[in-house]
């Protein structure tokens, strides 16, 4: 029987190919996700272990609250001489390793937009991890080195000027050397090295380090040495062996990448889900077409088990081949996904592909399981064929009509899904992962339920979508519609696969549009100021001196700064905290006061805070209550709630405090943004260009945006993410399009004699092609209509809880229409092959065909 299965597959190569392809794409995404994240992890491991080569003990500042900004905490340099005296220390040196910005003399940024750039100090040779490949290390405050890859990407050579910006004004350095970190790749990240004093100066860390590296004396063990150092170290630093430090950083990276991994696996899951439809449909159709063959085998004495075995074996073979190819393809996919990320400015470090045993096992198991499960029902049906069927003439295996009970079951599945979705949304589940899981399960059940119900929708939907074709094209349109309605179950399963992909596309499209609209309206409502200064990357802080420089520019009325950080709110958890300048904030911002007045902000004292209204009501906090926060300085200041504001777009996080408190209690000195109100009568355009000119040289990381640019900037970020999601969803859509081609090819095969007759009585090849094309278009449109409707429902539901936070749903009609048109065109595209084959049928052979 396995031999028969293999022969059957070979005899139906085209179908086997598309089925295998469906498995391949899903599995490749799974494998690709693992390979990608494992590879990135490995690349970071390499970076960490390389950078700690020769370092036995590492002293870093503790971070009581881990910050998203990536700016490390520093500690006093006074610790160094004490460390040097500890027994077993051969050499200790302080270092700086802080984010900055690198530019060419003409102002062009070096490296990709969102990848970090680090300003690093040189270390004594024994502790230095960067090796100079060309030139030499910086020897005076005017010299700098750059990593080889960064210099190459910017086309810089030794002797060229390079501008480096930290917290202080940017300065031009002479590039005197190129470096590398072992063989590690940084992705788009870059490292510039300066002398220690210069790196302290430019990052505004005079008298401070963010790291002390220690080399042990001969015979001294790292671990006991770390203990001895810890004994003399103050409580704001952490003493680790090199290994411990590398391990900790690795595990932090792994935690950060976990989200990426899960997100990518979700897309893989979608592709597999869609693939399952294709596999199910293909097996259903072929089993139906092979009824006579099965019956013949049964008359020859084959048992039910043997028949079942042969179909299962066929599925297993497809699953295995698809999974194996998918596993190999995963390596290529990993590169592809990384390239996608790079295209939107996220350039992750990489190394040679890492294929863990887990990747192999999971990929093969998933591919095999999906194929077997999807083919189970059709395989079971094959065993129900009575031997007598071999002798029956005419059309065989009339599609089983599902009863009312089946439809009710489908509705029930959808409703359970809806229930799960709503529970995930509204049931106030604290664990956001659990809530998301529940919502995901709900969405899957809804999609499944609608798919199971969809055979009943095929007839009306095909009529609706087919009518324009019929009106326009007459007979070919009519026949296309009739043919698509012939086997509603088949058409439904084919369309449902497309529906799933398009529902998700529609959902993210609407959601992204809502997000963009909400951002835009939040900007409109909250920003009184005409201009904003922020980092060119849109999220990193900017030097506080930029605000000072901006105040000098003619036409600038008020510059009020916004700072932000994360703090652990007692009894609640980590939250975003913003700092404003009470004296001037009301001139640049219009807050949506729920309790309090603009005067509340104006009169805000350093011991007071304003809360986000939604946050306050979630945690039962009211004006007059006290809120205690653990900050990154290690302090635990307490604040009296002075008022609450609505914060639709999460501009300020959960808590607003004064700028003075931000500095004293939270240790934040860099600005997140500078909000600018023009002087009366000043023209925004003119002031903007003057500001740009004033900041360009000194603060190249600072960008001056007007309101429109601020909005489009934010929208651009959303669009980039949207593009990434589209690219990942497109794989599921492609699988479903294969499904259309497959169903079409198999249906045409069944209708060979009919096509022969049509050709004999005078239908032209072109008409045959057109008829089949339209059938594909109708199927695609059914999927598109269902997908669009479901996507809109999902968007409407899932955005409900966000409505309180000002999320306004808007339906981008143009884009939605474009999705419909694209679906129709995709139908035309996938029908090309089957249509061509149908039109080329030999009339006589087709007529003689059974």
């Amino acid at each position: 029987m396995p031999r028969l299965a293999a022969k059957n597959l070979w005899a139906r190569k085209g179908r086997a190919l598309t089925t295998t392809l469906a498995v391949f794409i899903g599995v490749a995404l799974v494998a690709g996700t693992y390979v990608l994240t494992d590879t990135i992890n490995a690349a970071f491991d390499e970076i960490f272990s390389e950078s700690l080569k020769g370092t036995d003990v590492v002293i870093t500042a503790r971070e009581p609250v881990k910050q998203d900004s990536g700016v490390p905490q520093t500690f006093s340099a006074e610790l160094l001489p004490k460390v040097s005296k500890v027994r077993g220390v051969s050499l200790a040196a302080g270092a700086i390793f802080t984010p900055g910005g690198f530019f060419k003399q003409n102002g062009d940024r070096i490296g990709s937009q969102f990848s970090p750039k680090f300003i690093a100090s040189t270390l004594p040779p024994r502790l230095e991890s960067l090796t100079v490949t060309e030139g030499h290390e910086p020897r005076n405050p005017r010299q700098a080195t750059l990593d080889q890859a960064g210099a190459d990407s910017a086309g810089l050579e030794i002797g060229d000027p390079v501008r480096i910006a930290g917290e202080r004004r940017a300065r031009t350095y002479r590039l005197v050397g190129l470096t590398e970190l072992g063989n590690a790749s940084f992705g788009g990240a870059s490292i510039a090295q300066l002398t220690l004093p210069e790196s302290q100066r430019v990052t505004d860390n005079q008298g401070r380090f963010d790291q002390i590296s220690v080399a042990a004396a001969k015979g001294a063990q790292a671990a006991p040495l770390a203990k001895r150092i810890a004994a003399i170290a103050p409580s704001d630093v952490r003493v680790e062996t090199g290994q411990q430090n590398a391990d900790r950083q690795s595990s932090e990276i792994r935690d950060n990448l976990k989200f990426l991994q899960i997100a990518l696996l979700v897309f893989a899951g979608v592709a597999l889900f869609v693939g399952a439809f294709l596999i199910f449909n293909t097996f259903s159709i072929t089993v139906a077409q092979r009824v006579r063959e099965f019956a013949m085998l049964r008359t020859l004495g084959a048992s039910r088990g043997q028949i079942l075995g042969s179909v299962i074996a066929e599925a297993a073979l497809i699953g295995l081949v698809g999974s194996l190819l998918g596993l190999l393809g995963g390596i290529a996919f990993a590169k592809g996904i990384q390239a996608l990320f790079k295209a939107i400015g996220i350039d992750l470090p990489s190394t040679s592909p890492v294929i863990e045993t887990r990747t192999v096992i999971v990929s093969l198991a998933i591919g095999l399981i999906v194929t077997l499960v999807s083919s189970l029902a059709p395989a079971w049906r094959s065993t129900r064929v009575p031997p007598l069927a071999a002798l029956r003439e005419g059309e065989l295996a009339e599609a089983r009509r599902h009863g009312l009970l089946f439809a009710l079951g489908a509705v029930a599945v959808s409703l359970i899904g809806l229930g799960a979705l709503l529970a995930g949304l509204f049931a106030n589940i604290d664990d956001s992962g659990q809530a998301a899981g529940l919502m995901g399960l709900g969405a899957v059940l809804i999609l499944l339920g609608v798919s199971l119900f969809s055979p009943r929708l095929v007839r009306p939907l095909a009529s609706v979508t087919g009518i324009p074709l019929e009106k326009l094209r007459g007979l070919t349109g009519r026949l296309a519609r009739e043919n698509s309605q012939r086997r509603p179950g088949r058409t439904a399963a084919t369309a449902a696969a497309l529906m799933i992909g398009l529902a998700l596309v529609t959902f993210v499209t609407i959601f992204a549009a809502g997000l963009k609209g909400s951002i835009a309206s939040a900007v409109d409502r909250n920003f009184q100021g005409e201009l904003v200064i922020q980092n060119t990357d849109g999220f990193s802080p900017i030097p506080s001196a930029a605000a000072t420089a901006a105040r000098m520019v003619r036409g600038v009325g008020t510059v009020s700064t916004l700072r932000s950080t994360q703090a652990v709110i007692e009894g609640i958890g980590k939250n975003k905290v913003s700092g404003l300048e009470p004296a001037t904030a009301n001139r640049v911002l219009t807050l949506d006061w729920k309790q309090g007045l603009p005067a509340t902000l104006r009169d805000l004292t350093d011991g007071e805070a304003i809360l986000d209204d939604a946050f306050a009501s979630d945690h039962g906090l009211e004006v007059g209550d006290r809120v205690r926060m653990g900050t990154n300085t290690g302090d635990q200041p307490s604040f009296r709630v002075a008022g609450t504001v609505g914060d639709d777009a999460d501009l300020f996080g959960s808590v607003i405090v004064t700028q003075a408190s931000m500095k004293r209690d939270f240790g934040i000195t860099q600005d997140q943004a500078d909000l600018i109100k023009l002087a009366p009568d000043a023209a925004a355009d003119a002031v903007q260009s003057r500001l740009k000119a004033a900041l360009r040289n000194a603060f190249p990381t600072a960008d001056v945006l007007n309101q429109a640019e601020l909005k489009s900037n934010q929208e651009g970020q959303v669009d980039k993410l949207l593009g990434l999601i589209y690219a990942l969803l497109s794989l599921a859509v492609i699988v479903s399009l294969f499904g259309i081609a497959n169903t079409l090819a198999l249906s045409i095969h069944e209708r060979t004699r009919e096509l022969g007759m049509l050709r004999a009585i005078g239908m032209s090849r072109r008409q045959v092609r057109r008829m089949i094309r339209y059938e594909a278009v109708i199927t695609a449109m059914i999927g598109a209509v269902l997908g669009l409707i479901l996507g809109m429902i999902f968007a409407a539901l899932i955005s409900r809880p966000l409505a309180d936070e000002g999320f306004t749903l808007s339906y981008p009609i143009g884009t939605l229409i474009a999705i419909m048109v694209l679906a129709a065109l995709a139908g035309v595209l996938v029908a090309i092959g089957p249509a061509r084959r149908a039109s080329r049928l030999d009339v006589l052979e087709a007529l003689a065909y059974e």
Partner: protein
């Protein structure tokens, strides 16, 4: 035999051609399948002319070449050598597009397995050739046809709701609807019981007698052949008998002799 029934009104395709020239004329047809030693000659130099407005039957045992002959006459297959003229048009040199429009406009087909479209109603199946051409049916003619084939009360039924005989009657009407120059019928009674067979044959006979239709039928049913004006018998790729069929018994007798 009313072989002069053709008049310019009732007979489709009757143009200004002398009546004594056949409407379908085959000259020296050879058809070889395969190559080398495995080659089979299905037709070995067949020349035959079919007169306008007559009902001809082609008989012969399996493998005699009768189906091949009809396929070539109908432009569904190409001869290895020789030529076919239909209503004055040499068809052996036509490309697929030209053959398609010839079939659509000048020929009608009736098949053994009815070959109706299951998704269309009886009436829609009848007008299918016109629909394909994008033409509107002549209502009077259509009504007369539907009436003639006796399907007035079944016109909106789908094929699955019709008996075999009824389905074949739909097929007959479909073949006649565009008033073709020739109707080719390939074993039209092969899948019918004797009652339904008789109905269909009577219809074809009537089409010839009343409408002046030319019908060429391949069959191995002597009963069917007896309905025709002329009986051709093929054996091993050539015509071995060409005469009026006489009664069914006579046809059987003829065929026995040939075998």
């Amino acid at each position: 035999m009313p072989d002069t029934a053709s008049s310019s009104d009732g007979t489709p395709g009757a143009e200004d051609r002398p009546a004594d020239v056949g409407i379908v004329v085959a000259t020296d047809l050879c058809r070889r399948f395969g190559e080398g030693e495995a080659a089979v000659d299905a037709l070995t130099g067949v020349s035959v002319s079919f007169d306008r407005g007559r009902f001809s039957s082609i008989m012969g045992p399996s493998g005699s070449g009768k189906s091949t002959l009809m396929h070539i006459l109908a432009g569904l297959d190409r001869p290895t050598s020789g030529s076919v003229e239909i209503d004055g048009v040499e068809i052996t040199g036509l490309d697929d597009r030209e053959l398609t429009s010839l079939r659509r406009e000048r020929l009608g087909f009736i098949f053994q397995f009815f070959n109706l479209l299951p998704v269309l109603s009886a009436e829609e199946n009848i007008v299918l050739p016109l629909s394909i051409a994008g033409e509107q049916p002549d209502r009077d003619w259509l009504e007369r046809l539907i009436d003639t084939v006796g399907l007035s009360d079944r016109r909106s039924h789908r094929p699955s709701e019709l008996s075999g005989g009824q389905q074949q009657r739909v097929a007959v009407a479909r073949a006649l609807v565009s008033k073709p120059a020739v109707v080719f019928a390939d074993e039209p009674t092969g899948n019918l019981d004797s009652k339904a067979s008789n109905d269909v044959l009577a219809l074809l006979r009537g089409a010839v007698d009343e409408f002046g239709q030319t019908v060429i039928m391949v069959t191995h049913d002597p009963e069917a052949a007896a309905h025709a004006d002329r009986m051709l018998a093929l054996r091993d790729g050539s015509i071995v008998h060409d005469a009026a069929p006489g009664s069914a018994e006579q046809v059987i007798e003829h065929m026995k002799q040939l075998a």
